[in-house]
Amino acid sequence: MNTLVQTLIDGLVIGAFYSLIALGYTMVFGIIKLLNFAHGDLYMLGAFIGYSLLSLVTGNGEGAAGLLGIAVVLLLTMTVVGVIGMGIERIAYRPLLLAPRLSILITAIGVSLILENGSMAIWGAQYQVYPLQLPQTGWSFGGAQLTYTQVAIIAISVLLMAGLQLFVRHSIYGKAMRAIALDQTASSLMGIDVHRVIALTFFIGAALAAGAGVMAGAYYGTINFMMGFIIGLKAFTAAVLGGIGNLPGAMVGGLLLGLIETAGTLVLGGSWKDVVAFSILIVILVCKPTGILGEKVTERM
């Protein structure tokens, strides 16, 4: 029983990370139908920029960063990575929006290579220890542990997701995003600054991934320049699981994938957890490519 509860808790935390990254995938895909391969690397970049800022705040881990310090670092990192995301869109993707699909996919791989190896050149190839000591205390019930850190991660994730949902549903920019997702040309004719809204989408997606990156760095304790590759793939799986292009779908898909994966690790062992996730991806694409919450879409757009 207690292992079951523990699996549920751990799965929820990993699922929250997947959800936050999957949101960026799904937003970008929804608006310009691009599979942004570099998205997982923005999560990695977030973790590293957060690492540098925290080192600055705590003096290389000597002092302790207060709650306020952590909050400031989190917000600052999200902003910086958000701007980087916008820059990537401007330089690498915008010139190719009208080019064949294959070109922009290949460009996205190029961006991913640059982010990974640029980070390696700046921060080094070895694992870096996060300069942050998080409390290991919390509540325990029946042998299962729920730490304050886990509660905080889940709470922040929920807050971010709820904020995004409100923004997209009720703000004028959210309305513009949904309009562009439906018909880019018509939106442009209606006076929507399409490029600006696309840039905003990249900003939000990148910022959410960076937020997940900082929290993951603090939660796991170590970071590496390749940490975004596998998690990017899994977040994509989560987005497809929930129905790509659908925001609540990405959230549900992320949490579900986190739970399935932790359960799979419990049953099959740690070395098979990636196989479990990718097998789910292939099975979903074969059986129900629209995902759980996806609307019915035409096969080719």
């Binding site: 139908k33 599979l35 330089i91 690498a92 010139p95 190719l96 080019a99 064949p100 699909r101 294959l102 070109s103 922009i104 996919l105 290949i106 460009t107 791989i109 190029g110 961006v111 991913s112 290579l113 640059i114 990974e116 190896n117 640029g118 390696m120 050149a121 590759f229 596998i230 793939l233 994509f236 799986t237 497809v240 070395s271 098979w272 990636d274 196989v275 990718f278 097998s279 991806l281 292939i282 694409l285 074969v286 490519p289 096969e299 080719r300 757009m301």
Partner: protein, 322 residues
């Protein structure tokens, strides 16, 4: 470039390739052999990405299927090398169909990510299964022999790869000009129109995917006996990306271009030893710049085709029906 010069250039290149082992030292011969592996792999991927327009990000998985099939059959069951080739080809085609059949019906982006996942699954399987020798891989793979002559020296493998590369290039270029090749080009340019014209798009895509898989696995078979030891590290995601880079750099769908791209991808890092840490960074930038400023590649397919057509017209033998 006139048709005569193109032909002459090709002959000169072939002559240079044949003469290379007699003037080069073992180190550069090894580099040249690796470049030939990339030529073969690049042509295989060219069918999938260049001809049919399907982005395959897990191509190294088929390379691994070939290498491991040969490795296991030769070391565990004591098969002859030549008998492992058809088995590897069948297995690769089988994997190609299993992965391709469900996903090729979907949007082409999905194929990219599913092949990426498939590549990772194959790599993780190779690391975790005991029959593939786990993380350390398979070693002591025996050398092949033909009619009592064993392949053992660098030169032997260089010439073996040169012959294979020439055969693959000839096969792929004929395939590209065939009825099937035209169907692929049609699907790549406009899928709906192709379907309206009666082309079975799923079947044709599956064919492209499987033929690409077979070529990749055959290269893997030779790789296994050449290295005599294989490990999961050789079949990582970066391997797939390097092959893709060769295709993109040279020119999608261009036979000569992809051969050139393969040689560049291997030769440039050798020449830029001092910039080794920056290698992948430069490659990433190259991918972006190529797509933005020169999406047709260094040696575009159109130019090549035009030269061939002029050649055909110049011979005055027959017109070229499209």
């Amino acid at each position: 470039m006139g048709p005569k010069t193109t032909k002459l250039l090709r002959l000169l290149l072939l002559a240079a390739a044949i003469l290379l082992p007699f003037v080069s030292n073992n180190y550069w011969l090894d580099v040249a052999t690796l470049a030939l592996f990339y030529v073969v792999l690049g042509q295989g991927l060219n069918i999938v990405v260049g001809f049919a327009g399907l982005l395959d990000l897990g191509y190294a998985a088929f390379f691994a299927v070939g290498a491991y099939t040969t490795g296991i059959l030769m070391t565990v069951y004591g098969w002859s090398f030549w008998l492992t080739l058809p088995v590897a080809a069948l297995l690769a085609a089988g994997f190609g169909v299993v992965i391709g059949a469900p996903t090729l019906r979907l949007r082409s982006d999905y194929l990219a990510i599913v092949t990426l996942g498939f590549g990772e699954i194959i790599r993780i399987l190779a690391i975790n299964l005991s029959i593939t020798g786990s993380a350390s891989g398979i070693y002591g793979i025996p050398r092949p022999a033909i009619g009592g002559y064993p392949f053992s020296s660098q030169k032997d493998f260089y010439f073996l790869m040169l012959i294979i590369a020439c055969l693959v290039i000839a096969a792929v270029s004929r395939l590209g000009r065939s009825r099937i090749g035209r169907a692929w080009a049609y699907i790549r340019e406009d899928e709906d129109a192709a379907e309206a014209m009666g082309i079975d798009r799923v079947r044709m895509k599956l064919l492209a995917y499987s033929i690409g898989a077979i070529i990749g696995s055959l290269a893997g078979c030779v790789f296994a006996v050449k290295m005599s030891a294989i490990a999961p590290l050789s079949f990582s995601f970066m391997q797939s990306i390097m092959i893709l880079l060769a295709v993109v750099l040279g020119g999608l769908g261009s036979i000569s271009g992809v051969a050139l791209g393969a040689v560049l991808v291997i030769a440039l890092p050798e020449m830029l030893r001092s910039a080794e840490e920056w290698r992948y960074l430069i490659f990433g930038a190259a991918l972006i710049l190529m797509m933005i400023y020169r999406p047709q590649g260094l040696w575009p397919a159109g130019q090549e085709q035009a030269a061939d057509e002029r050649e055909a017209a110049g011979d005055g033998a027959k017109s070229v029906p499209m």
